[in-house]
Subunit: 488 residues, 2 copies
């Protein structure tokens, strides 16, 4: 009996048609070397009889193999495995070994230094109570209105262009809607040519870093500062310099001292609500920092991730609105306004920067999701976003006050904090509390909360947490802080 | 009269409330230096009268300025611009100069070498006739079914988790749907742990390059090869080595010769339908290439951008399905199946590679659009995608045949081509035709078509075009080829 007959197992319940099962089995054994090159194969009639199938099915399999170049038919001689396949030593298959197992590891070298482990956020079950880092309450997202716009975009003739490839800067429609919106709300005298749409603020930080930073370049960040930005700079090979952050924001004197000593390429600031400490950079420091930037010609990334959420007064205009020379790269996001999973953000910068960064972005992911982006543009255009922001700011304001009172009443001297002027979290420093233990205890009682390690730097352990209040209703806050108290 | 009174212009038709207009005007002039530090400001009553507004409005503006830290109230003395603002020299405003103009250029240095201009695709008006590079017909996209799934995802309680932050690998649901789908259709014996969801194939190429390539590393590509991949390798500092592509695909002998001479880090292949020439790599070359990879320990990027679209026989199983050692990074996309603007693709690789690349992706854009990704998963899960692919493959097959016949009948000896086994375009080499002129002439007659420069390399002018047939209905093909003939 021909070897081939033994090698084919048909599964009549499988989705794949029988002729394809035969085809794949034969390919498998040719590549394994079980069927050697030049081997003569049994005739289709013989194989069909043996397998109990119609001869046409077997012929279809042979046709398929021939079309794919695995076997050849030599007139008056028969059907053969093609001769010009390279030598393959048959691999012995041990009993029980699964055939065609996928390799568990790469066989080539991966430079481990390139892999800086980012804290890959654990999955947050929306049904569990959680004090997060300061995320919005997605239950408030204007889902139905968004769906309506999305449907309109997807169906409309005029929007069909968003199905095809677009530009890496984002759809004109969104850029032209966003420019006046940002101009009106943030005093940015920009046009669409200064706008690039990104997938969230993180892409803005990444692109700017890739464009500006060569290995060894000096980047200044706060002590403490937003961890993901710091990792992004390190990944690009930057030398990280840290300057203190006090209750007026990042220390500009310290920045000046550093600039006098060495060439600084980039400074990363979060003036509106510093991450993690939530402090707002004072107007005088803002102006001095811009002045230093012009003098020492460094770039400033102004990360304004939650501009819209300010309660003490109106939001303070971004530094980018004061920039007269072109030092500031202004980065924002809509993720905090709609939902974190909606990956739409923007870079605002002088036109030459936007053009350069668009080329970089092309190689990264070509372009954004134009349909999604067009739907979001519509939400801004028709005023839904404006109204939504107004509504949630009022609600978050109330939630901040309630939460601050709770922390004070319930946790007393175990925590110190300053009520922040904006944002979605309170920066609380704990006293005589082991945060790792507290986090573990709380989890057992049904409350997810971090252990603060995210905010520590190489030199400092803050024993502090960003306590997100925005995503919790008042009653949920009561329960969460109660568990927190019991977990200390 | 106080200087301040002259500086404020109210626009009663503006959206911004009056008190905010005053606030912003005063900030503007403080930062310009027009209002010097320590300057005493007029009382609110006086200002209100001068401006013709209610005194409460003026008080609101002063409160706002105080809250933002621009002015201070000294009891029994009055209201002042804060003294501890740094010295600012007032900038003379020339007549006619627009106040607050946004800088036209950056004031810091951008390394021009980092900016490799990608051909930023011109906008394709969907209402104009176009012979594109080989894109799908978006008119056939199952828009309504997609919208239904998207709505379900957005509304469903169970899916609320997709509103919050997720993982950089993509939603579990999509990875677990895609793994068996790819296993069934492409013989990839993988699990979800081998899958990472990306924003299209380009992100897969970019991430792999960033992870593996250090400046100076050697990367082999075909002559010709897909331009965007080559640019991505160059951007990472790779040394590009080119080997010929003939009618059996990339020349594996030439690859072996190179490997003997120098350390090769990565080889980029498109075995199923080579870009741009559409040729399919033969089985024997595939096996030899895998053998070389194991011997010389290089990585292979297998770009399989249009696997599903094969007409000659069933699609040929990817090289990744034969990979026994872990040399192949398999990259695919769903953009060609649904619509180019739907940015969902995937990387299939050994688990250690997926983990490493997920960290890199974190810094790039944090994660994908989980809601969109979940909706697409549902389309695979409920069989819509399978049926859609079957339907369009039949249609594209017909369109390929019609288009090939047209080219032969209408353009005769001005073009040579081989009918491709799959894909969405025909690679046509033109004779005695100036493609630049042809492209310009065609545009005047209402047909958009490239001039072929995209496919040329440093050393070769192919005078050829990828002629996309898939997005044109038969009558549109007739008209397009007619215009083409008239434009030569």
């Amino acid at each position: 009996m021909h070897v081939l007959k033994d090698l084919i197992q048909l599964d009549r319940k499988a989705d794949a048609p029988v002729y394809l099962q035969i085809t794949n089995a034969i390919i498998h054994h040719i590549r394994r070397g079980t069927l050697r090159r030049g081997l003569k194969l049994p005739g289709s009639r013989e194989m069909a009889e043996h397998l109990g199938i119609h001869r046409k099915t077997m012929l279809a399999a042979y046709d398929e193999l021939m079309a794919q170049g695995w076997i050849e038919m030599i007139p008056r001689k028969g059907t053969f495995v093609v001769r010009d396949l390279p030598d393959i030593k048959p691999k012995k298959i041990k009993p029980g070994e699964e055939i065609g197992q996928y390799p568990g590891k790469t066989f080539f070298h991966i430079d481990e230094k390139k892999v800086i482990p980012f804290p890959v956020g654990q999955f947050r079950d929306p049904n569990l109570l959680a004090i997060n880092d300061g995320f919005p309450d997605t239950r408030l997202a204007p889902t139905e209105l968004f769906l309506r716009e999305f449907r309109t975009v997807a169906r409309s003739r005029g929007f069909k262009k968003y199905y095809q490839y677009g530009t890496p800067k984002g759809p004109e429609y969104l850029r032209e809607t966003l420019a006046p919106f940002l101009s009106d709300t943030r005093g940015l005298p920009i046009t669409a040519s200064n706008v690039m749409i990104t997938k969230g603020a993180q892409m803005g930080i990444y692109l700017t870093t890739q464009l500006l930073i060569k290995p060894g370049d000096a980047v200044i960040v706060g002590e403490p500062s937003y961890f993901a930005a710091t990792l992004t700079f390190r990944q690009a090979g930057a030398t990280i310099l840290r300057v203190p952050v006090d209750d007026q924001g990042i220390d500009v004197d310290a920045i000046e001292t550093l600039c006098k000593k060495k060439k600084v390429k980039l400074i990363y600031v979060i003036p509106h609500h510093h991450h993690p400490t939530t402090v707002t950079l004072t107007p005088e420091r803002r102006i001095r920092l811009l002045d230093l930037a012009a003098r020492y010609r460094f770039a400033i990334i102004e990360d304004d991730y939650d501009y819209d959420f300010h309660y003490a007064s109106n939001p303070i205009l971004p530094m980018a609105s004061l920039d007269q020379h072109g030092n500031v790269i202004y980065i924002g996001t809509l993720s905090k306004t709609l939902a974190p999973s909606v990956r739409v953000g923007f870079i605002i910068a002088p036109e030459n920067f936007i053009d350069a960064v668009a080329h970089l972005r092309r190689s990264m992911d070509w372009q954004g999701d134009s349909m999604m982006e067009a739907a979001i543009a519509a939400l801004y255009h028709n005023g839904v976003m404006g109204r939504h922001i107004k509504k949630v700011v009022k609600l978050y304001h109330e939630r901040r006050d309630h939460f601050a009172a709770l922390l004070k009443d319930q946790l007393h001297d175990r925590i110190t904090f300053k009520v922040p002027d904006g944002g979605m979290s309170i920066w609380g420093t704990f006293h005589d509390v082991d945060l790792k233990k507290m986090s573990a205890h709380a989890a057992k009682k049904g409350l997810l909360i971090g252990d603060g390690s995210l905010y520590n730097t190489h030199t400092k352990n803050y024993n502090a947490l960003r306590l997100g209040f925005a995503s919790l209703q008042l009653k949920e806050q009561d329960r969460a802080v109660e568990i927190l108290r019991e977990s200390m």
